[in-house]
Each structure stands twice: as structure tokens, then as C-alpha cells.
Symmetry: C2
Subunit: 197 residues, 2 copies
């Protein structure tokens, strides 16, 4: 229906997560009508990000330097490390303003179904850090899914013999939520993890 | 929170219509983790579209040639022209498979509030086509909004003295809605049931 240069852009945009065919069309026509420089800047930002961003050599967060902002920050406590599945999970933890340690990005979670075993993730690198950086506590912030739970259990098994305290984010009711809308699994976990008042 | 190359891309993505801050973050991290070539292709598609696409010299649809696909198609009836506000409205009309004429893109609708008078739109060019191309019917497919209705009335006033039959898409389109969101069936019915003005 569209001429090749437009169709190609629509196809490329529709490949992005959460962008359907109709949104891709709207975005393509938007990019066709905005100031030329705005379109070029977006194009350039994509390539420049790919060229400049790489994994932090310590924690595998994304960075444009040797080490990421958190590993470079000397006010951060190096003895506490929060383990996340993906780099984008870090920003969610940061938003709480409750954590002042460092991070470690595993690169995913253990998933037998998808054939992702521990050797595919950065456990070895975490173990090296535990030995070299005086880490005393590892907070496991993997997703509250079967894969995230499996990964957390594996971490506990591997790290406890090293004398490291391994903790996991509490599962339970979302703050401000309604008990009525909680699913059984979440409510079950909230019950198991209940605390004395 | 993010290092400059990532933050810049997030900012540029968040400027797109319908993309919020959170979606922009997701998209940026997606583009960071996909195959490098996929990211580069999207970047290239944006620039290439801007470089290759221009208005059709006859109907002002977007094209990468002198004339657009519909103006070049000799099986199309040149005596019936469908007038739309924007080039992206053409695809919606095409999807109905009810229309086999040509198009004319006005470039917007008359809007006294936004200071858009008839001189800002391509009425002059439409009139030239009426005189030169043997057009006998103009189907007005402007949006069913105050601006679209005003534009339709203006078109009827200008074109009727030229002996051209001016029709407007029938009701069935939700008033105050956007042509872009109409489903094919509704728009198809509106096309079949168009009425002379």
C-alpha cells in the first residue's frame, strides 16, 4: 500500500515491542512531517547509543564508560550488591531511593524451558566479585516468576557456602492495592511472609 | 539516571506521539539489546524515508517518485477524486476497497481557531485539477469534525459552480472522531452511502 521507503520504516517500527501496525503507521507519518532535524536526531541517537554504550566491566549494567555510574560512585556501599536480571531493572530499584549499594546484572534468569542454564548467565562473574570485593550481602531482585525464583534459589545455594548473606525482595500485596483484587498466588506469598506487628 | 547516550535516545523517543516516558525507556533498552544490524536498519530507515519521500506533484500524497502509486495507476478512474486532509488518510480509504478513483491531499482542514484559512490548504491545486483533468465528482473525505465539515462546505461552494458533483462520506462515522480510527466496514458503508451536497 505504501511506497517502499515508507513501508520499510513502518515494518521496522512495527518490530519494536508494544508497537502495533497502526501505531507504526502513525509514527512513520509523524516522522515524515516533523522537522527534518528532529527525524535525523532520532536516527542518530539510535546509532550513537549502539556505538557508545557497552556493559560495565564490573556489574554489566549499561554504560558509556569503563564502569557504570553506580560502580564509579564512591559513596555507594560496595559490600551490598543487588542482583537483577536485566540492566533496565536497575532504574526501578533506584527509584525507591532505599538502596545505596552496587548492582550485578545477570543477563536473564534460569529457564529450563527456554534452555537457559546457569552457565548462560553471569554467576561466575558474581562469584569472582564476592571473592574480590568484600561483598557481605547479596539482595536478589529477580522477577517474582518461576524463572526468577529458580534463579534466586540457585544464587542462595551457590553464595551461602561463601559466607555471604543472601536475601530476596519480599513478595506480597502491592501498596495501595485492594485485597479483593489480589491473585491467590500473591496473597499466598503475603500470608507466608507475614510479619509480627 | 541514565548515561547520556541512553538518556538522549529516551528523550527523542518520548517526543514521539503516543510514546510515554516508560515506553521510551523500554524501547531504548530494546534497541540496546537487539542485533546491532536491526538497530542500524531502523536508524537508516528514518533518514532514508526523509530523503526519498516527497509530495506527489499531482495529488500531494507521499511518494518516492514524481507521482504517487494511485496517480500512476492507469486502471484508476481519473474523473473521481477523493479529497482527504492528510496523506495517511488515504490508506484508510483504500482499505475499504470501495474506491477506484484518485486522491487529493489538502494538507489539513479549515480551522479559524488555529488560523488555518483556505489559502493555507491545497484548494487552488484542486481547482486546477478540476479544470485540467476532467474531474466530474469530488468525494469529500475530511474528518467528521467541525473543521472537516467546514472544509467540506467550502469545497462544495467552490466546486459546484464548476459543474462538479460534490459528495461527502455518509454518516456512520462517529462525530468528533478521527478518520484514522475508523474501521473498514464503517468507512466502506460511509463511502457507498455518500450524499450529494
Amino acid at each position: 500500500m505504501f511506497e517502499p521507503p515508507i513501508q520499510r520504516l513502518i515494518d521496522d517500527l512495527a518490530r519494536l515491542p508494544g508497537i502495533g501496525r497502526k501505531s507504526a503507521q502513525r509514527l512513520a507519518f509523524h516522522l515524515l512531517t516533523v522537522e527534518e532535524e528532529d527525524a535525523r536526531r532520532l536516527s542518530r541517537s539510535i546509532v550513537e547509543m549502539r556505538e557508545q554504550v557497552r556493559p560495565c566491566r564490573r556489574c554489566f549494567n549499561v554504560t558509556d564508560a569503563d564502569e557504570c555510574v553506580f560502580c564509579r560512585d564512591l559513596r555507594r556501599d560496595p559490600s551490598v550488591v543487588c542482583v537483577v536480571e536485566r540492566a533496565q531493572d536497575i532504574v526501578v530499584v533506584e527509584r525507591t531511593r532505599e538502596f545505596r549499594g552496587r548492582y550485578h546484572v545477570l543477563g536473564g534468569a534460569i529457564s529450563p524451558i527456554e534452555g537457559i542454564g546457569p552457565e548462560r548467565l553471569r554467576f561466575r562473574e558474581l562469584l569472582d566479585r564476592v571473592h574480590g570485593e568484600g561483598i557481605t550481602e547479596v539482595i536478589v531482585a529477580t522477577n517474582p516468576t518461576v524463572e526468577g525464583d529458580t534463579t534466586a534459589l540457585y544464587l542462595a545455594k551457590v553464595l551461602k557456602p561463601e559466607g555471604v548473606k543472601v536475601t530476596r525482595l519480599a513478595s506480597g500485596l502491592p501498596v495501595g492495592g485492594d485485597l479483593d483484587y489480589a491473585d491467590e498466588l500473591t496473597l499466598g506469598r503475603a500470608l507466608v511472609g507475614r510479619r509480627e506487628m
